[in-house]
């Protein structure tokens, strides 16, 4: 027994010594010559096939001898897996990212692409979401925006004019009262994951914050104590208190229960997306293009102009450990080439980053969205770190349940925002 104890002691000490300082290494490459490995969460799906075929064909023209392997990861574990890859310094050469916090938190592991993508700068939109400190880390594939969709049929039922939705917040709340009388809720809201507040913030940001405040927010100079910023959270609380939202918002999943509520006509409005899910093509299953409207954000603060909040949605980035960054960057460019993006728009129902694509076939809602891209601005929530967004999600649930004040919310968010 004593001997065994001694042996285990020796073992533990030995291991402890061996363990020191080797927890994280970086800068190793796994890619063999003539092969590029790409990680994403799209390539396994049927709608991505023609997009990938086009992108691969484009890349083949430049590097005919290089093989490209796409590895589709499950989205709910994507960043966990990627985190492990980054930690070990081994992984794919090219990887797909969501714009905003998810890529900005991980730029340590990426190659700046500024020198490689100069030719694409004009053709594509949405670069800001993939940029940190003036360095571009990914080429945008889709644009993600946060428009307010409305159900024209419910407007008619409530004796409202579907062609001219409210332009001011007061008129909007009055409309909502009429909608409530017609038996529908004003907003379909799913805030189980705490994402509802993000859409709220961005959808109403342009008409609540002044233009200066908005631009300062995007560049990182956020004044959380400003009355207009507080107003955004007050409105959120008021909408909850006045029962404008669908019932049980804190236990309703945004994806896709809240969108289902909107589609099935139980709520008149939803703050949705432009690409991937919860958007014009998704709703088409039940809401025909004629019934689906897109409205500008109603004006909350006098003197503001509504603009469509949007950013680069997803984009491909190059890992630091890849052997030939130039080659990997060429692949990234092929994945954002005009032909490939056209296929992505047509099959996946996304607003592609290439704004020259013709979308006139997809119905009035899409035409409205694309026409608003020019005057659009980056979305407010995308500028926040994932840590602050996570906190904001929980605080927004507390606001809805009434267990916290707006002042306390902005105080906590300001602390989290300044910490990093």
């Amino acid at each position: 027994m004593r001997q065994r104890a001694m042996w285990s002691a020796v073992l533990v000490v030995g291991l402890a010594l061996a363990g020191c300082g080797s927890a994280s290494d970086s800068g190793k490459s796994t890619s063999s010559d003539g092969k590029l490995v790409v990680w994403d969460w799209k390539s396994g799906e049927p709608f991505a096939k023609s997009y990938l075929d086009k992108a691969k064909a484009d890349f083949k023209k430049k590097h005919s001898d290089v093989e490209v392997e796409f590895v589709a990861q499950p989205f709910d574990q994507y960043y966990t897996l990627l985190g492990a890859a980054i930690q070990s310094g081994k992984g794919p050469d090219v990887m797909l990212f969501n714009g905003g916090g998810q890529i900005r938190d991980r730029v340590d592991a990426l190659v700046p692409l500024n020198d490689y993508v100069t030719e694409d700068k004009q053709r594509l939109a949405g670069w800001e979401a993939f940029t940190k400190d003036a360095k571009i880390y990914a080429s945008p594939v889709t644009l993600q925006g946060y428009p307010i969709y409305y159900n024209k049929a419910i407007y008619q039922k409530a004796n409202l004019d579907p062609a001219s939705p409210a332009t001011t917040w007061d008129k909007f709340t009055a409309d909502c009262t009429a909608i409530a009388k017609a038996g529908a809720k004003c907003f379909a809201l799913g805030n189980k994951e705490g994402v509802g507040i993000q859409f709220w913030l961005s959808s109403l940001g342009s008409t609540t914050l002044t233009a200066q405040e908005y631009d300062a927010w995007i560049t990182g100079k956020r004044d959380w104590q400003s009355p207009n910023v507080k107003r955004l959270f007050q409105l959120w609380k008021e909408a909850g208190d006045k029962k404008m939202n669908s019932d049980g918002a804190n236990s309703t999943a945004m994806f896709n229960d809240s969108f289902a509520l909107f589609q099935s006509g139980k709520a008149a409005h939803v703050m949705g997306l432009m690409s991937d899910v919860g958007h014009w093509q998704d709703f088409n299953e039940f809401l025909t293009p004629e019934k689906l409207g897109v409205m500008k954000a109603p004006i909350v603060t006098a003197g503001t102009t509504p603009s469509l909040p949007y950013d680069g949605g997803i984009g491909y980035a190059v890992a630091k450990w890849t052997k030939d960054p130039k080659m990997a960057a060429d692949l990234v460019r092929s994945l954002s080439s005009a032909d490939a993006l056209k296929a992505f728009y047509a099959d996946a129902g996304a607003i592609a980053a290439d704004t020259t694509i013709d979308v006139s076939q997809a119905g009035p809602a899409v035409a409205t969205l694309v026409s608003e891209l020019k005057s659009g601005k980056p979305a407010l929530h995308v500028a926040l770190s994932s840590k602050t967004l996570d906190l904001m999600g929980r605080l927004s649930q507390q606001l809805l349940s009434g267990s916290i004040t707006v002042d306390e919310v902005v105080k906590q968010l300001a602390a989290s925002d300044q910490a990093g």
């Binding site: 291991l15 061996a18 927890a23 960043y79 985190g83 340590d108 189980k192 049980g248 804190n250 929980r394």
Partner: protein, 326 residues
């Protein structure tokens, strides 16, 4: 225990190394104590270690070493500080984080709810053992949820407990207002634990039924003849006779609650509302995957490991004591 017929535990090794010249297998069979050569003695002494070496190596390389790396890693920083030592910085951050405090508080809540989780299968098993009408039917029905994956169970209860779901519809038909089962921070954790118990009590029930199989029926008959009520039978006959089974179920249920709630949490509440249903496991997953804080996640993992270690040691003590009583 037969004496004088002791066989060496590692006969093949000894026979092989000693060359069979000194000791023959037949000598063993006759029970004669062999004269051991020094080489044979040494071989015999090291043989157990050699034999367990592969298993130990696997455990050391694949379990202990990564564990130590993880602990080591928890003392380094994240992001720009990747790889540099930060001392107890991660641990300080953890204990200052209200979310992690909630997660630890929920572990305490699970421990408090443990008696309920054991009592339910215990009582139901008792009823089945006492042959209530339809006991055969109940025996199979009770076990059924145990074969479902937590994801499926979570999805089913998500629908049942939704604000506009069937449970609230039933309640409103009897005039009780709708309850936001999964959206109320005071309720949500109890709902998740309740669903977890519902989904897993079948296993404990089977263990209890196995325990009942060893119960002396004469004792029950005697109690009945003496006019004991059902409560008295349960309290004075069944519980004392099944004490070891009950302790075993306590241990396994505790482990189950602390280690396999992730799937349910992920599907039913995603840690919410207001972060009220976080458990350390879920916290670790969020920090590592969503927040890109692997070192902080390592620190949280280390704390979870410590908790499990303490709980595990307590349980071993408990089982040892139960073993001695027998």
């Amino acid at each position: 225990m037969p004496i004088g017929n002791t066989q060496p535990s590692v006969r093949p090794a000894q026979a092989g190394r000693a060359g069979g010249a000194v000791v023959t297998p037949s000598a063993h069979r006759k029970g004669a104590r062999p004269r051991r050569a020094r080489g044979g003695l040494r071989a015999e002494r090291y043989a157990p270690y050699i034999l367990v070496a592969p298993a130990v190596l696997i455990i050391v390389l694949l379990r202990l070493y990564p564990l130590l790396l993880g602990v080591n890693f928890s003392f380094t920083g994240d992001g720009e500080q990747n790889g540099t030592a930060v001392g107890f910085g991660n641990y300080r951050e953890l204990f200052a984080d209200p979310l992690f405090q909630t997660a630890l508080g929920n572990v305490g809540l699970l421990v408090l709810l443990l008696p309920v989780a054991v009592a339910i299968p215990g009582l139901l098993a008792t009823f089945i053992y006492l042959r209530v009408p339809g006991h055969r039917f109940y025996r199979s029905v009770y076990f059924f949820p145990a074969v479902l994956s937590p994801v499926i169970v979570g999805a089913i209860f998500n629908m049942l407990l939704a604000f506009d779901g069937p449970l609230n519809a039933v309640l409103s038909s009897v005039g009780v207002g709708p309850v936001d089962w999964l959206g109320d921070p005071d309720l949500a954790m109890f709902m998740v634990v309740g669903v977890h118990i519902w989904a897993t009590f079948g296993m404990a029930l089977v263990v209890f039924l196995a325990g009942f199989a060893t119960l002396d029926a004469a004792l029950l008959d005697a109690a009945r003849v003496d006019g004991a009520s059902l409560r008295q039978v349960v309290w004075h006959v069944i519980i004392p006779s099944l004490s070891r089974t009950i302790q075993f179920v306590f241990v396994t249920t505790m482990i189950g609650m602390l280690t396999s709630m992730f799937g349910l949490l992920y599907v039913m509440t995603t840690g919410g509302p207001e972060g009220s249903t976080y458990l350390p496991e879920y916290y670790i997953w969020i920090k590592q995957g969503q927040m890109n804080r692997p070192a902080l996640a390592s620190a949280a993992s280390t704390i979870l490991f410590m908790i499990m270690l303490v709980v595990g040691l307590l349980q071993i003590k408990l089982l040892e004591r139960a073993g001695k009583e027998d």
